[in-house]
Amino acid sequence: MSTTQPTTTIGKAANFAETRVGASVLVREFGRKIFPSHWSFMLGEVALYSFIIVVLSGTFLTFFFQPAMGELHYDGPWLPLRGVEISEAYDSTLAISLEIRGGLFIRQMHHWGALLFVAALSVHMLRVFFTGAFRRPRELNWVVGVLLVIMGMAAGFTGYSLPDDLLSGNGLRIIDGILKSLPLVGTYISFFLFGGEFPGIDIVARLYTLHIMIVPALLIALIGIHLMFVVVHKHTQYPGAGNTEKNVVGEPVLPTFAAKGGGFFFLIFGLLSLISALFTINPIWNYGPYDPSPVSAGTQPDWYIGWADGFLRIVPGWFEFYIFGWPISFNINSAVIVMGGVFAVMFIYPFFEAWLQKDHREHHILDRPRNNPTRTAIGVAGIIFYCNMWAAASGDIIAVFFQMSLNDMIYIFRFLFFFGPIIGYIITKRMCLALQRKDREIALHGRETAHIIRLPHGEFLERHEALPPHKLWKITAFESPAYVPAEPNAEGKITGMEKLRARLSRFFFEDRVAPVTKQELEASHHDHDAVEGSNNKELGH
């Protein structure tokens, strides 16, 4: 660009960028980078775009919100609260909602956007899990993803507590109760967080610092690392004709992927605008200011906190016990243990699976979920485990809706806590194996055409049609992981760890349906020719 002087406006702008920041290197590197195209690859995009919208709308809100708990008398337009003593935080949130033009719209977009952000993160994570996209070289990016889910929940909770209305204060009261239940340090942590006794006058300002600075900074840093890893690893792709472990097939960033991705950002923006225009969320003016005494029945936390709240509801009280008078409030802090346990399992899963299979190769072609039945079944068991706790957070509302006893609802949730995941595991595993058998059937005998033919001697047959090669490849070209028995190490010893690995490996891979091989396919054609004569000749010819 430096050899000839540019004459057009764009040329001049490009020359400016080039000579100041070396833009051509970036354009060359990323401009035609290939991204595969599939609806399930857009879930992460939904999360990213809703995050951007949440940052934009949240920035607007900071210009009006007062993170302070000094008391004043409300004198705004909302009659039911006029003259009531409320905090500055609640007062300014009322002003944003009721007086500032567009304020309610942007506040609702911020709240709906946050809900969508965590929802999209979660579904994206499920997609990555079920397709095995966490395998080498992407294990660390999976870990970053789990951290993003945790930080997303933290961002949501710290924000939910800011308006200092009745509901959010009650949420904080529960957090206070959970903190106090922690052995040894609980009371101190609670006093340090709240600046003394609950609720105190410090908590909103402290949560505000976390909500608008520390948590978003961590989120942005983690998102940056996450995307950088995507560039380094290049995107995964589904099995398909032309897709190999050594290539990426798809659309170039400029122009197609950028246009679709950019357009998709506006679609998400439009969707959140539409929801915020039509559906009220968290009408804090109806709840009143925080007061430790009243509470409205049927209150619900934001959805992503539901599993923790639901777990608190289903633990029986006798989980609390005393050792020499010192309380172990296992009925409460088991919620902390369960949540920590779920995240711990998620952190280690990629490394666990590699160890189990002794498979440390790179994987860029995704698994179809049916082709790894045990992993898929574990995923479904996890979903049921999570959703049961989540539903329990609405147990009272479900009981009212179905006119059932509240206590019976809790018993059902307690039962499902243990047996729901097991039932889900068994059913899913059988379904995956059945789907694999169906794939085998289709690969070996072709697809059903619904053409019924009658043979000269009166027998009826349905004509089957062989699959075209690219479809055949899609359902046959996969590695089916198999049981790896215990192997001695370099010193010729089989360690206890190796025995454990072998036992787990057997549990994972004992039941399997092997993929069709070319030899099997050819053998089946010969059989058909021999048995059924010329009617099925089209198979494989």
């Binding site: 009261r173 922690l182 340090v185 472990e245 005494s293 490849w473």
Partner: protein, 347 residues
Amino acid sequence: MTSKEHSGGGSQLEELNGFTNPGLPEHKPRLADSDPRAEKVAERQVAAWFILSMIGTIWFIVAYFLFTPGESMQSIRLHNMFVGLGAAVAMFSIGFGAVLWAKNLMSDHEGIDERHDIGGSEEDQAIALEILHQAKEESGIARRPLLRNTLIAALAIAPLPAVLVFRDLGPLPGDKMFNTLWQKGTRLIRDVGGIPSVDSERPIKADEVTIGSAYHVLPSGIGDEEASEHPLNEKAKAAVLLMRIDPKELKEDPDRKDWSHDGIVAYSKICTHVGCPVALYEHQTHHLLCPCHQSTFDVTEHCKVIFGPAKRPLPQLPITVDSEGYLVAQSDFPEPVGPTFWEINHP
């Protein structure tokens, strides 16, 4: 499968289970690729979406001024809906236009990138090692363990002050968890929401409390700025539910028989699970239900837990009547109120 390669580098997936990767299926052209009329239609469609977006933006601006929020909730809702719909149309339409442009008019030929090794070339790795080695030599970090170890020790303790300065986030609990505003002779006043000022207190006479009724109660003087520095903090500990039950239905512990007055009993309203107000009183069964996590307490049996995640019964406030017939406390709660905490039995 037992003999899997343990090294890096995936299988090519060009040959698997005996099948050969047939390669990308043949590209199918779209209508707009070959038919100039279809192309023109697609182009106009995209432009129409972009024009619709502009209409949405203009509508947002018009609605912002036209439907100003007033005093009524209705006007606020209308304002929210109309500006919101403007934004939705403006954003959706850009999105639809851009995606349609990409799908119908931009090239849909599939591109192929080759993957490369994630690790650097052997040469890169050698150079990197050499640089690290050079850094080690030039700094002398290996040769001078005294410097290295004192530096590590200094760095290890340097963050301590950063932790220490957070000490003053809050005072130590002291005896705060064991005391509330209730004391001998404190009158029971009605909780009407918020904090009552000292002048507007409404104490409760024992004979006003009819059988079957329940009162939300606070200690007299909670609004007095000298007595309670942070009234909400006090309320979070002192809130009480007062109920009158037919004395025949009460199964009272003989030791606590004089804690009630003629069937009138007072219990802490703060749940012993995680501290929600136990605000739902069931008149027929005399059960108290916490709306947060459904802990259920039986008022007739000193609020013992009969269901749910709470462990301890709600603490009872011993009450009596004073010379004027008003209900008063005999003392503070005999045990701490609210959620269980570590020091609960060791004041």
